[in-house]
């Protein structure tokens, strides 16, 4: 089932007397393709949960429409939308066993949808098998690990075979390893069931690794939507560029003059066709190549060898993101001359942004290398 958001806006009235309304979701327009997993990504408080609640029907939009396929569901109450929602807190009923938790949504069915006891049990067991907890059916939630509870929550959301599955930061309560495992698990379940899924997270790595498409948002405004690699390679603006990638992109004050990019007076790159103007420059950590007579000289702080890669940490007065982190293959020996280290830059990994609006300015050298 594909989902279309059309001029979707959610305003909360302000709490303080003279304050403005909080616009949690501001004029969203996008389409979630059928059967895909979408990662909704953004910093805390940017309106991710609100968007999810709008899709689920727990909140109603101030303006705009929501479509599930051909159906306008904007005014439909949540129970008639056919969505499954997994909460950050899991919200498993603590006094019920796993089986009772999973069966709970089925027991609500009335009229012609009503199921027999055996049918309910069978469906519950199917859902449990899908998330591989069929051996824990008689346990209470508190007798299980965080990861297992998480699976129960997914099973409960899946048992009615929803048209859309919504997951609100489902992994944030898990430790690092379990997170990795569980996100693969979620990917597998989504692939197996083919249910259109929206996955909310503020962890960009998580979103990039499992999503077919990511939606990056900030303060209620949609920034960019697209395939994770595409968004990473061609961020529309400085915010998106900074938000994606670990280590984060290095940002510098720079200037374009006569088709050349200057950082702190050093001519570092050709950017033909770009008008002369001051710019913000973003260089991905993997965009540096060690080169003794490279154009970009920085002051070496330290070299960190991390197994496969070497991270060179250096300083530059025009760097606005603190220390410069570059990642180079461990085979390269880092040689500092008078405490300086020089780089050549890969144009594909160097982005320039308008100083005022932060919008990215593409330039031909970049395209050629992609």
């Amino acid at each position: 089932m594909k989902v279309i958001l059309e001029h979707l806006t959610k305003r909360y009235p302000s709490r303080d007397k003279n304050g403005k309304d909080v616009i949690a979701v501001n004029d969203f327009n996008f389409e979630i393709p059928d059967g895909k997993l979408i990662g909704l990504l953004g910093p805390s408080g940017c309106g991710k949960s609100t968007t999810l609640n709008l899709i689920s029907g727990l909140e109603s939009p101030t303006e705009g429409k929501i479509w599930f396929g051909e159906d306008d569901v904007t005014d439909l109450p949540p129970e008639h939308r056919g969505v499954g929602l997994v909460f950050q807190s899991y919200a498993l009923y603590p006094h019920m066993t796993v089986r009772q938790n999973i069966m709970f949504p089925l027991q609500n069915l009335k009229g012609k949808d009503k199921l027999s006891k055996e049918a309910m049990n069978q469906k519950a067991e199917e859902a449990a098998r899908l998330v591989q907890i069929e051996r824990l059916m008689e346990r209470k939630p508190r007798e299980m690990s965080g990861g297992q509870q998480q699976r129960v929550a997914i099973a409960r959301a899946l048992v009615k075979m929803p048209r859309i599955l919504l997951l609100d930061e489902p992994l944030s309560n898990l430790d690092a390893r379990l997170r990795l495992q569980t996100r693969e698990e979620i990917r597998r379940i989504q692939k197996n069931t083919g249910i259109t899924t929206v996955f909310v997270t503020h962890d960009q790595e998580e979103a990039m690794s499992i999503s077919d498409e990511i939606v990056v948002m900030e303060s209620g405004i949609l920034q960019q939507i697209g395939n994770p690699q595409h968004v990473y390679d061609e961020p529309v603006n400085l915010f998106v560029a900074k938000f994606l990638g670990t280590p984060a992109i290095n940002v510098f004050e720079g200037e374009v003059k006569g088709g050349r990019l200057f950082i702190g007076g050093q001519d570092v790159l050709a950017v033909s066709g770009v008008e002369d103007q001051p710019v913000s420059v973003g260089i991905r950590p993997e965009g540096f190549i060690l080169s003794e007579d490279g154009p970009f000289r920085t002051k070496l702080v330290q070299v960190e060898v991390m197994g496969r890669d070497t991270s060179v940490v250096s300083e530059h007065p025009d760097c606005v993101s603190g220390l410069i982190r570059s990642i180079i293959s461990a085979e390269n020996r880092v040689e500092a001359k008078d405490g300086n280290v020089a780089f050549e830059l890969k144009p594909a990994k160097v982005h320039i942004f308008r100083k005022d609006s932060g919008v990215r300015i593409p330039y031909p050298e970049q395209e050629r290398h992609v």
Partner: protein, 293 residues
């Protein structure tokens, strides 16, 4: 020394409890076994269960026992149920929630005498008025009843009404905060699944706040079994004559009342009450343990 340390820390509390709780309890037990104790000469005839036999055959005690049980059986479920109803209602309103909460809590901080006065206005027949309730009954064509000096059921009704009224605010307070502490996500999840309000209440809300309900039932039972002052506030000090005495009232009368000066009988009655309260509390705890999450 290591082992003694914890006890040392506990010593003040233990000493306090010992002096004011354990010693009197033992004393009461001793009194209750001493037959024909004379407080003036501090002498007694013998030791045995005579006092208990006497108390259990005393019609006043039987009346007090009956009154107490009726009071407990009626007021505990009623006040808890009504409290829950009001708390749920309070929890579901958005506007003026705080105002209503304050209003419902007012009786709790109101002086007992003031509450008593209100009940007098409502129920007491005087030379000038039949009481507000009677006036109401009469306007609707019924015949008035004397609630304070009239038939037994009318007096019992007033006593139960009064008791429920007095304990209600505390229960509402506890239950509203219990309700408010239930994680909102449970309700959201239930809503997505299309759970009816009725089912949400029985299957989610009630189990979630059941520990608090059990707490209220247990303390409610204990409180109602110890009822005395409410009856005095309504019917005066001669409760035996009014037929509205309670077990604690009986104990008090045996010690200080008109026919006072019988500490042995008082002690025996107090121990019987102790046994009853203990039994009921144990049963309550067992049930709550069973149904707990």
């Amino acid at each position: 020394m290591r082992k003694l340390r914890p006890w040392l820390y506990l010593l003040p509390a233990i000493a306090f409890l010992g002096v004011f709780m354990v010693y009197p309890l033992i004393d009461v037990m001793i009194y209750s076994m001493e037959e024909g104790y004379n407080s003036a000469s501090q002498t007694y005839f013998g030791v045995g269960l005579y006092n208990f036999r006497y108390v259990l055959r005393d019609p006043y005690f039987i009346q007090a026992l009956k009154n107490t049980f009726i009071l407990v059986i009626i007021t505990v479920p009623l006040s808890t149920g009504i409290g829950l109803l009001i708390a749920v209602a309070l929890n579901s309103i958005q506007k003026l929630k705080d105002l209503f909460q304050t209003i419902f809590f007012l009786p709790y901080v109101t002086n007992t005498l003031a509450v008593g006065l209100v009940f007098m206005i409502l129920f007491k027949k005087t030379a000038y008025s039949d009481g507000l309730i009677n006036v109401l009954i009469q306007t609707f064509g019924g015949t008035g009843v004397d609630f304070i000096d009239g038939p037994y059921w009318a007096k019992m009704f007033v006593l139960c009404f009064y008791t429920v009224w007095v304990v209600l605010p505390f229960k509402i307070l506890i239950l509203t905060s219990a309700l408010a502490s239930v994680n909102e996500d449970y309700y959201k999840a239930a809503k997505i699944d299309g759970t009816s309000r009725w089912r949400i209440f029985w299957k989610i809300t009630l189990p979630m706040i059941s520990p608090m309900i059990f707490y209220l039932i247990i303390t409610g039972f204990i409180g109602a079994f110890k009822a005395y002052s409410d009856a005095v506030a309504l019917f005066g000090t001669d409760l035996n004559a009014a037929g509205m005495n309670t077990i604690v009232g009986y104990v008090y009368d045996m010690l200080y009342g008109n026919g006072g000066g019988y500490p042995s009988y008082a002690s025996a009655a107090a121990l019987i009450l102790f046994a009853i309260v203990m039994t009921i509390t144990c049963i309550n705890l067992l049930i709550s343990e069973k149904t707990n999450v």
